[in-house]
Symmetry: C2
Subunit: 303 residues, 2 copies
């Protein structure tokens, strides 16, 4: 039996025979499978990443196994072990906990890994990141250009690498521009506390006139909290989101490109599989400021 295409759907029709890929892979050692570990498949950011990865995998005739670590480093390690047990050709991962030293185990040796969105300490590997500092800086500069002197930063949980990175970028950008710095609240945020925080920030004699939110989730809860608190603020969000243009006012955002991130990471991985043995590479993707209307002084009312 010769190999016909990739399993041969023609052969299937005629003979009702399907090659057992398991046996084939056991013998040949080539599994043609990629493992993808991320935080939550239901999050639109990650699902866009996953879709892009899947597209590249299909192009390269590989299948994709996905697993969500849901923020648990333990679960993530379990998934990794399961994937390596299946002898995936390569691994793409959004690392949850900080330490990935265990990935350097002998057992994993030979399985190339590419990290997305966050770097992993304790292990040398390719990484695809986004320009968090640059993105935050562009947002701060945009707000400053519209006359804002006191900007608040609402970040996600400081344990997330991207969250602390964006916070640091915020500090640096505000300092560099001579703006007030240090009005910062890190998550997790719930709607009620956030509304209280926003009321506090907008009261007093040096009120915040704009807030920068640290990601998708924070942006959404902030918009709700703003309504609850009945305060009017300029808002710029990190991460673009569907319908941002239909809100009143339309929300200015620092857009990432999750599809580009997934594609880039997948291509990097396939380069390794194609025999590229150069040292670990780190790719930093640019962000793009999408100016809508929410950045003006006077905030949400000002259009």
């Amino acid at each position: 039996m010769t190999r016909e295409g990739k399993g041969g759907s023609a052969a299937i029709d005629r003979l009702g025979f399907v090659r057992n890929d398991g046996a084939s892979r056991l013998r040949s050692g080539r599994t043609e499978t990629i493992g993808l570990i991320l935080e939550d498949l239901a999050d639109p950011f990650y699902s866009a990443v996953a879709a892009a990865v899947e597209r590249v995998c299909r192009e390269r005739h590989h299948l994709l196994i996905t697993g969500s670590g849901e923020g648990s480093a333990e679960r993530e390690q379990g998934l990794t072990v399961a994937f390596v047990s299946r002898r995936v050709a390569g691994l793409l991962a959004v690392p949850a906990g900080p330490d990935r030293a265990w990935l350097a185990q002998d057992a994993m040796a030979g399985t190339p890994v590419v990290f997305l969105d966050r770097p992993a300490s304790g292990v040398q590997a390719d990484t695809v990141l986004v320009d968090n500092e640059g993105g935050v800086r562009s947002a701060v500069e945009h707000l400053a250009a519209h006359g804002h002197r006191h900007i608040g930063f609402l970040g996600d949980h400081a344990g997330f690498w991207t969250a602390s990175r964006r916070r640091d970028g915020f500090q640096a950008a505000t300092s560099a521009l001579g703006l007030r710095s240090g009005t910062i609240a890190m998550g997790p945020h719930d709607r009620e506390h956030l509304a209280a925080t926003l009321r506090r920030w907008t009261g007093g004699d040096d009120p915040v006139t704009a807030v920068l939110t640290g990601n998708n989730r924070v942006t959404v809860v902030t918009l709700r909290a703003l309504r609850d608190a009945g305060v009017d603020l300029a808002v710029v969000g990190f991460d673009d989101f569907e319908l941002a243009d239909l809100l009143v006012p339309p929300v200015t955002v620092v857009a990432q490109d999750p599809a580009a991130m997934g594609e880039r990471a997948a291509r990097l991985l396939f380069q390794r599989l194609d025999g590229d043995t150069r040292g670990p590479r780190s790719v930093v993707l640019p962000t793009r400021l999408i100016v809508r209307a929410s950045g003006s002084l006077g905030g949400r009312a000002g259009r």
Copy 2:
């Protein structure tokens, strides 16, 4: 070497040994892998389904292979063949084309399949659907109760089973309530044409005062087109979406529960894997009308 847990991350640390699951599965015949075929992993509806499926799979110690058919029946068949070649224990699929007779091939015999969102003709299998007619009826009744006598229906491409189903439900519901019926436009919709349609519908001497949109995607493009057209209409959307409550006015929707759909389908599949040999089952999930403000007479302005 005894089997320690599920691969033993403890053993990995100590010995740097990882069992080859491929060999194990070849020998035992149990693959502990589920294949999921859907249209587009990046669509929030499907990614919520996928996340729920993955959760059930993890609970049952199975891994999940995902593939997006992207609306192409051919690609979908290719994925199916690839999955069956890997001897997945079971298959979950959102069927793209109408005819799934080829799934009844001898080669697939023994691989249980559960269909989601749409039924598949030409093959007997479990199916999890949503109550499309009921959902549409609840929306029409809601609009009628708010005084609307002439409602327009904006459906997706009539080739989609759910789209035509909802259209038929709309016809039935409007007739039953003695409302004007037949003001219908099926997709695909682009923003410009849709704006023109909306202008036409709201002109004349029997103007439409409310529209019901057939799904997520149509709702979003409709909201944009309404803005472009500068017309004010009550809108009820099929499918809930993030931030619907923050639009002005907040959009009333017929909510589906994609997570419930994914979970239900996965559990049905595992029942089969556990040896349930009863005849094919069909589960119809209810929809839930989430009343916000967009259904009132006077439409988007009326709050």
